[in-house]
């Protein structure tokens, strides 16, 4: 017995939401075709060369660069750990895929941040925009990640581009939210002090609010990169290539070994990127000053 047999339920109007979305996507595909083609070309122009560069140099060179960054940002212990982890990945058969995933993550993260940080600043300065942005961000974050792949497929076809763009949409929200949060948390008295000396709004924003919000904004950057990485694997389902392909293939063939290898490569990449971006935020003078203040308290 289905619920529809209750008379009251049967009287409920049917809402063909799915059909509406479909026709909207249809319409967009037909009329906005050139726009999508341009975006496709643009993203490919970013990802392709980067992928070629990462795969065009010896694995050891990439490991050395990342470990060197780790040394500078976090110290020798982390550098050593990162080197060991990355060399382990290099010793497995999927180095090439790991590098194309890295290229996709970097491009997707940069695009997401280029959209998220200015948007975050805008909504932090504008209460009404913030009220509008909140449910939209909720939607973007909670909609199952796979779903983004479907319209992306329609608009951009199979390959890297729909994967990267779906990743951008999925990973943007924490960048927006944490930028907004960081700016709103800046000590009001300090903002007033800047204003009381006659500083114009752009100056208050760029020289006072943003520097003071930077640690929180950098947490957002870190979160965006982490979400990108998790999404890039899912994007393997639309043939984005990289580790996503490896893992999806292993799943369909029930190959435990290669699946595990692909998974480990993702984990190593994630840990290295996470720690690197995390300590990047601490390099700013405002972060140093705030950390000192916390320690003193």
């Amino acid at each position: 017995m289905s619920l529809r047999e209750f008379p009251l339920d049967a009287a409920l109007p049917r809402v063909p939401l799915g059909e509406w979305v479909e026709s909207a996507v249809d319409w967009a595909t037909r009329t906005l075709g050139p726009v999508f083609d341009a975006i496709t070309a643009g993203v490919e122009a970013l990802v392709g060369p980067l992928e070629q560069l990462l795969n065009g140099v010896p694995a050891v060179a990439v490991v050395a660069v990342l470990a060197g960054l780790g040394w500078w940002l976090r110290g020798w212990k982390f550098a050593l750990g990162a080197a060991v982890g990355l060399l382990l990945v290099a010793g497995m058969p999927y180095w090439e895929e790991t590098m194309s995933t890295l290229a996709q993550v970097l491009v997707a993260s940069v695009l997401a941040l280029l959209l998220a940080v200015p948007l975050g600043i805008f909504v932090a300065e504008n209460k009404r925009a913030s009220a509008v942005a909140r449910p939209v961000l909720d939607f973007m974050q909670t909609m199952p990640a796979f779903v983004y792949l479907i319209p992306a497929l329609f608009f951009f076809g199979i390959g890297t581009v729909p994967g990267v763009l779906a990743t951008v949409v999925f990973s943007m929200p924490p960048g927006v939210r944490l930028t907004e949060l960081g700016l709103r948390q800046v000590d009001k008295e300090i903002v007033q002090a800047a204003e009381s000396f006659g500083a114009p709004p752009w100056m208050v924003l760029l020289r006072t609010k943003v520097p003071l919000a930077l640690p929180t904004i950098m947490t957002g950057v870190n979160q965006v990169i982490m979400l990108s990485l998790s999404m890039v694997v899912i994007a393997g389902m639309v043939g984005a290539g990289g580790l996503g392909d490896v893992i999806i293939f292993s799943l369909s063939q029930v190959e435990v070994g290669s699946g595990f290898e692909g998974g480990i490569a993702v984990v190593v990449l994630a840990v290295v990127l996470d720690r690197l971006t995390d300590s990047l935020g601490d390099r700013f003078p405002s972060a140093r000053a705030q950390r000192l203040a916390r320690e003193a308290a």
Binding site: D187, E189, I190, Q192, A193, A194, E195, S196, F197, G198, A199, P200, M203, T208, P211, L212, F284, P285, S286, R288, A289, Q290, L292, A293, A296
Partner: protein, 423 residues
């Protein structure tokens, strides 16, 4: 010409602000007037003028509206109604750019929690206003260092604020305001976050700087002792209204209403009251040219043993005692010249605080002579007067206030508190 004039200023937070202003305008208490309105009144009908070069203290407890008031003086908050004039310029109607220019040129501010930028060095913080004004870096640095020198912090110029103690940080806040070179300084509970000893030190420093620079300072505080110590004039705020404006003495001796009286009850009056406010009219004053017979008559009439003698221009010379008068009579002198002595009474100036009078009173054989700034005899203080001034200054009974010569009795201010207080 006032440096800053505020007329019927209101700040209402919430909705239906105009209705709130209308209801408050006839002087009803805040809670009654706004009952049922979705609004709160932070500042109600504030009217006052600040003279160039004075320290004008706004005092009130938290929630009295004083922080809101000061933020309307430089446009950080927009008044709901009323007028704020800075150097004759109506601030409430200025466009944002003009308002910013006014802040750069005329008004700077010192904040309760210092509000230094943690990512900039002390010198960069001190020079912030100059950076905003677009001055080149070397000049900025030079003027910032000059301001830091005034507050004694030059050797900390290249440290971060974090390296400094609270008192030092607020001196940076002060230096930042001074470096801006504005005539008006707004100080919002500037010393309230500091512990008492440091607070006292920085108050002294402010008074020293003020003696040198002569800024117009509007100083917000909840601390009555601080208000009395710093303020040339004090405005007492309660529930958004200014209930009294006057000098420390006026507020102590003639509280406008029970609230102010209670507020000032536990102040150490001996530090606030001055010789001028307790002195009495001298009865037996003679010119040095008067003859000894006149002096003898004066002594007989007033039944005292000493006459105060003044010279040309009413300048106080000293006293003539009974013995000297007798000697002058014996020697058939025509005037008192040569019989005036100076060791019989002590002299003090009008602004000597009562606390500092005790020693003089104790050591002076006759009532202490109070001289004005031109050395003329303004009054005398017998010991008994000093004691009774203290007695009437004890807390608990602010009622028996006698009009003192220095503070002419103001009208009864209880009725229309805020309105008549424009002083």
């Amino acid at each position: 010409m006032s440096a800053l004039a505020v007329q019927s200023l209101y700040k209402i937070f919430g909705n239906r602000a105009d209705e709130a202003v209308r209801r408050l305008a006839d002087g009803a208490p805040r809670a009654e007037a706004l009952a049922g309105l979705p609004a709160t009144a932070a500042v109600v009908d504030a009217t006052f003028e600040v003279r160039p070069g004075e320290i004008f203290v706004v005092m009130g407890l938290s929630g009295s509206g004083k922080s809101t008031l000061i933020r309307m003086l430089n446009g950080l908050l927009r008044p709901t109604s009323g007028s704020v004039r800075v150097d004759g310029v109506e601030l409430t109607s200025l466009k944002p750019a003009a308002l910013r220019k006014l802040r750069r040129d005329k008004i700077s501010m010192v904040f309760q929690h210092f509000a230094l930028m943690p990512h900039r060095t002390v010198a960069e913080n001190a020079g912030y206003a100059l950076e905003v004004a677009g001055l080149p870096k070397p000049e900025r640095r030079e003027r910032a260092m000059e301001a830091l020198r005034m507050v004694g912090l030059t050797e900390w110029a290249d440290n971060l604020p974090h390296d400094l103690s609270g008192g030092m940080r607020q001196r940076v806040g002060l230096a930042r305001a001074l470096a801006a070179g504005t005539d008006i300084l707004l100080m919002d509970e500037a010393f309230s976050a500091l512990d008492p000893l440091i607070r006292r030190e920085i108050q002294d420093q402010l008074l020293e700087l003020q003696a040198e620079l002569g800024k117009t300072i509007i100083f917000i505080t909840h601390d009555l002792n601080e208000a009395m110590r710093l303020g040339d004039r004090i405005a007492v705020m309660r529930d958004g209204r200014i209930v009294q404006i006057g000098t420390a003495e006026e507020i102590l001796t003639d509280p406008a209403n029970g609230y102010v009286a209670q507020f000032v009850a536990d102040v150490d009056r001996t530090r606030i009251l001055t010789a001028a406010s307790v002195m009495e009219k001298p009865h037996q004053v003679l010119d040095v040219g008067a003859g000894p017979r006149v002096a003898a008559k004066a002594l007989r009439d007033t039944q005292t043993s000493v006459v105060y003698v003044t010279g040309p221009g009413k300048r106080f010379l000293g006293t003539v005692t009974e013995d000297e008068v007798l000697r002058a009579l014996r020697e058939n002198r025509t005037n008192l010249d040569g019989h005036v002595v100076t060791d019989q009474v002590r002299t003090v100036t009008e602004d000597t605080s009562v606390a500092d009078l005790f020693a003089d009173c104790a050591e002076s054989r006759h009532p202490v002579a109070v001289l004005d700034d031109r050395g003329r005899l303004a009054g005398v203080i017998p010991r008994i007067t000093l004691l009774s001034a203290l007695a009437s200054a004890t807390p608990d009974e602010p009622a028996p206030v006698e009009p003192s010569p220095a503070a002419p009795a103001p009208a009864d201010l209880d009725a229309a508190a805020g309105k008549e207080m424009s002083a």
